[in-house]
Symmetry: C2
Subunit: 185 residues, 2 copies
DNA sequence: GTCTATACTTGGATAGAC
DNA sequence: GTCTATCCAAGTATAGAC
């Protein structure tokens, strides 16, 4: 990995851990093992670095979701696989956490990939639910758009609860709760 | 309201909007219309101000929830009232947002009221669900602890989705989704 | 209690040498 | 491409006058 990539990767880590306002250029340089001049040679500054970093994390998140959702099985099985997959719960969601950052939401170009990622994720989950509805696994009248938003919200909110408690249990409980309702059909 | 209270109140507003790492003593002073010396006379610094501010917001959140949950009606009706109540969705949750702040979670004394608030909220919702289960409104086998976590997670995650989209719709969808499942019993 | 002055650190970036 | 020097604003706090 070259210096440029290391800088982006370090930015991703720090954005995940400390957010945009909490991440300084100096911290990025130290994490990447790069000097001041090196960073400003490759990037115009913190913002440009963040743009690349956020985009990469966004792509990765959607790819990871797709890996669970495209497996064989019923709609509920695939959603279960997605919700139950191994996660670093206490670190939170690298994309969702950015929504709490004033430096991100105030900047349309930085917010855009965050918005797009969560919107696409909901759309993809709605597709899976649609398939379940089509096969009769799920009831015909189900509002799949709403339920897809609920599923993503349970994840994002589960992270919030786990971080507050400094323990993963509330996350697991929230997931169990929604799955018990979904498997009741 | 005296100067001391104004400082706490300003801190609450700024913590809500910008988080702990994003809020400077100077910003607090300006928002409160108080001078430097005044602030440091009443408080040892930003951290002490935050301790008081977070505690007040926590108390207020629990009181607001209780206002909806103690109304007459079935369990699902009361939870519906709670979820559907008027909210400043795009501002997010003044307590939940703090879980994304490294300055809060890294400090046990600052994290404690956040943890306690969300834990109590889940416990209170579980009580309401227990009552519904006792009256036969909800099924006997229901895991009320898990479902309470789900309900709070939908709220917290709904805020995340709404802030990402810069629009309240995803929040409303997430709430609709969980309520449609709850009213299916 | 509040004000102003002062101090030191960090944030964020530019300039020019190598 | 990377390094060091430099710069100015902001963050966070202390000191002492009023």
């Amino acid at each position: 990995m070259d210096t440029r990539d290391q800088l982006i990767d370090s930015t991703r880590e720090l954005l995940w851990e400390r957010g945009y306002v909490g991440t300084s250029p100096k911290a990025i340089q130290q994490h990447a093992g790069a000097g001041q001049g090196s960073m400003y040679h490759h990037f115009s500054g913190k913002r440009e670095l963040a743009l690349e970093a956020v985009q990469r994390s966004a792509d990765e998140l959607l790819a990871a979701a797709e890996a669970q959702l495209r497996t064989p099985g019923t709609a509920v099985e695939r959603i279960t696989a997605y919700l139950r997959r191994e996660r670093e719960v206490l670190r939170g969601c690298p994309i969702g956490r950015l929504t709490q950052d004033p430096g991100i939401v105030a900047d349309p170009e930085l917010r855009a990939p965050v918005d797009e990622t969560l919107t696409r994720l909901r759309a993809r989950l709605a597709e899976v639910l649609d398939e379940g509805r089509a096969t009769g696994e799920l009831p015909a009248g189900l509002d799949t758009t709403a339920l897809a938003a609920t599923v993503v919200a349970v994840l994002q909110g589960g992270y919030v609860l786990a971080r507050a408690a400094n323990a993963p249990e509330p996350f697991d409980q929230a997931v169990s709760g929604i799955l018990s309702l979904l498997t009741a059909f």
